[in-house]
Symmetry: C3
Subunit: 247 residues, 3 copies
């Protein structure tokens, strides 16, 4: 059972963050809010979303896993005007997620959770490098790098006390460096890993609105991006596996 009311912009932000990586997910609801964790079809990237009950104006839920067609949900939520309230409901044992806003009543058939990939485990990751910076800066750098290449290295240079991004194309390269005075926080640990820009571009759209993004990096390790949504009442974590550096 679910009965919830939420600001449409907040919910759209949450749905868009998940839709950047996957087209279906299991949405877990219970008294503690909403949660989902899903990996993309290639097993390269993972998204984890949490929305606390106080991200909603009304939130009542009994424990259940809802099979969600994320693409459809994104399309429907995309038609709601800014500033509208969105009512979500699933009757006890019901097979449809009802969305109501203004005079509209959408009814979205739930997927059978058994047909959706099992929830991935959150890998235990030791990522000693830590950078906190503005979401828009990270997004701009990812966009600029994709002009010259399809992959990007993210790293920390402890001597220069700088967070850097480097992209090398066949003939051209770009380097973007932010000193410790240009980021909110930076740990003095050497780190560098290479990532596919395809995935980062999709993630960047969701991160561009975040006032700060926390980046966890290591040496040839995955990267973890953590940022808040829903005015701090929700949280998104992206994990992305490194690419092998080959020449």
């Amino acid at each position: 059972m679910l009965r919830a009311t939420i600001d449409a912009d907040v919910f759209r932000e949450a749905v868009d963050a998940v839709a950047a990586l996957v087209s279906e997910c299991r949405l877990h609801i219970d008294g503690g809010g909403m949660r989902t964790r899903a990996v993309d079809t290639a097993n390269v990237a993972m998204v984890s979303l949490e929305l606390a009950p106080d991200a909603f104006e009304v939130f009542e839920a009994s424990e259940r896993a809802l099979g969600i067609d994320v693409t459809k949900l994104k399309n429907i939520v995309g038609t709601v005007n800014r500033g509208e309230k969105l009512m979500l409901s699933v009757p006890e044992g019901g097979q449809r997620l009802n969305l109501a806003f203004q005079s509209y009543q959408y009814s979205l058939t739930l997927l059978d959770p058994n047909t959706i990939r099992k929830d991935p485990n959150a890998p235990a990751l030791e990522l000693p490098g830590r950078v906190v910076l503005e979401g828009a800066r990270l997004t701009n750098a990812i966009k600029a790098a994709s002009v010259v290449s399809d992959k990007i290295a993210l790293g920390i240079d402890p001597e220069a006390r700088a967070f850097f991004m480097e992209a090398e194309g066949d003939t051209d390269n770009i380097r973007f460096a932010l000193g410790s005075d240009e980021v909110e926080s930076l740990s003095d640990v050497r780190a560098r890993s290479l990532f596919s820009l395809d995935y980062l571009k999709d993630m960047a759209k969701a991160m561009s609105r975040a006032s700060t993004v926390e980046i966890g990096i290591g040496i040839d390790h995955p990267v973890r991006f953590t940022f808040e949504i829903a005015n701090g009442k929700g949280r998104v974590v992206y994990l992305l596996a490194p690419r092998i550096e080959a020449d």
Copy 2:
């Protein structure tokens, strides 16, 4: 013979309303203004347009049917800036429609009216259901419905005293209901017919700017949308045949 001056925005609105359904039409001109009535190639939808002489700043015309390439006219009128005056002229017996604005002089060859489909008769329709509502609300509902389906039912529920639209997709559905207090006018007659969203989406673009649209509906009957253009000096009527409800 035609000699007319009109605000470019007003004429663009009129041309766009016709271009939503057909690519050619016979434009009838005489002392009473301009009129056209045309059906789409599949005979499913009809548009009827009237512009009274006082929709123009200058209007002189002797009776004639002009064969118009609507797509070309739409492209040309689309290049006129907002707020410009547009001068239309066809010399007595001339085979070209001249359009002048700013320092431009366009000359559009008229089509032979005999090569254009005969004017359709306006079918005699008994449509007891009548709803009057804001054009933007109707347009939004049509857009929302097309997320889940390619057809939509329009109807009146006299018990609930509501105008409703319902779209059912393979797995999802949407319902949009407006009570009698949310529309300008609503007749207490049961009505419900199913329509193709393809046509409605094209019509919706023209209707979105209308302050009110009058809808005439019956039970498994065509729908008729009537709205004013040119600040009330012109009128557009769309007719759309119903789809057969099949499962």
Copy 3:
């Protein structure tokens, strides 16, 4: 050797003007600034660009020809935000053009100038007709003409004391005439030549921002467009060969 700082908008305008016609060029640098001259692959159109040293905030250069991938440079310069400063540098004998802005460091491999077509000679042209008009008016006329045709005649009618543009399609035509009071300057010489709109549309994008464009025309001769960029510290000249008028 090159070491220069320039407003990003100014440099973008210069690069876009060249990119409208060619994808590679030899950029000549020396104490007198930057210069390039290039013809398109079909040998139909030529662009010539000059940027004086005072178009830059800092400008130091020793004589050299740089082989530039114009398309890549355009993409990179396109990511710089408005109002940013852009630093350009090539070390003595270096094979890369370095671009730095904000915290970014781009490095663009130079092409071997020997692989780029030899600099074209500036043809000696006698173009007696001269018109000076607003860039935006010229651009709008080119855009409007492309609705009906793929070629346009530019000319001067000395009797009517007017600059005119005419485009004839299969069935329709457009004529745009500006009297001597509607242009900044107009010479009383009969002129008329026909040009491909494909090329003019590309040039028009660069000319649309120019407060004035000087047009040189003759009878069945090339047309020459000259306009300033970089607040008068730079100049672009486009030459376009005439098309043969055939029926």
